[in-house]
């Protein structure tokens, strides 16, 4: 069980979640333990943006009781529309989990680098394409 002391924006009343990994899948479920019908699909942001990193404020570090950067695990919430090709990931407000203390929070980043709807397919394509070009050069 992972406790989100502040909940997730818009779902503040639900504080307890668990991450359900799926075999052979890049996606996982962030499942509420308080409300069986509440779940989010999440994935590692690095899969769409290799340079992605989250900088926590000291209040956020205190909230999550993070001692070492390695304690933190970062997920992006994925929105899956009817057309899967239009799937987006929210890179502005990632889910950060302290694996050791089992604490989580949705962190809002204010640096203007990321927004709430990055197209997953396009961005994976771009980064894979870039990698291929680099390997070729």
């Amino acid at each position: 069980m992972i406790v989100f002391p502040q909940g997730i924006l818009g779902f503040e009343e639900y504080k307890r979640y668990t991450v359900v990994n799926q075999e052979d899948s890049m996606f996982a479920f962030l499942q509420s333990l308080d409300e069986p019908d509440l779940a989010f699909v999440v994935m590692y942001p690095e899969l769409v943006d290799q340079s992605y990193s989250v900088i926590l404020t000291k209040e956020q570090i205190a909230l999550l009781e993070i001692d070492e950067p390695e304690d933190g695990e970062v997920y992006g919430i994925v929105t899956i529309p009817e057309n899967v090709a239009e799937m987006t990931i929210n890179l502005q407000a990632p889910i950060v989990i302290n694996k050791k203390k089992r604490l989580g929070a949705q962190i809002v980043m204010m640096d203007g680098k990321y927004h709430t709807r990055h197209n997953v397919l396009a961005q994976m394509h771009a980064s894979a394409y870039y990698k291929a070009r680099e390997a070729h050069a």
Binding site: G10, F27, V41, L63, I80, V84
Partner: protein, 87 residues
Amino acid sequence: MLVLTRKIDQGIMIGDNVRVIVVDVRGDQVKLGIEAPRDVVVHREEIYREIQAENARAALKAAVDLRKVQEAFAAHRSAQKSEQSSD
């Protein structure tokens, strides 16, 4: 809505443990300091609303078979790749 007039360095208390202070006023910009317990989230309103709306969109309305999503997604990816290699 409750409307209060405050000067720089003056504050208001919301409940027992949220304190908001006017730090600075310049033209039409007001700088506020906020002290709140850790479990109280504080955000600029427009950001809060945007993230809240996106979370509501993302929250699953029905059970999703992630394997099917992954398969459909993989199909789109390989279609893209073959497009790219034929460039």
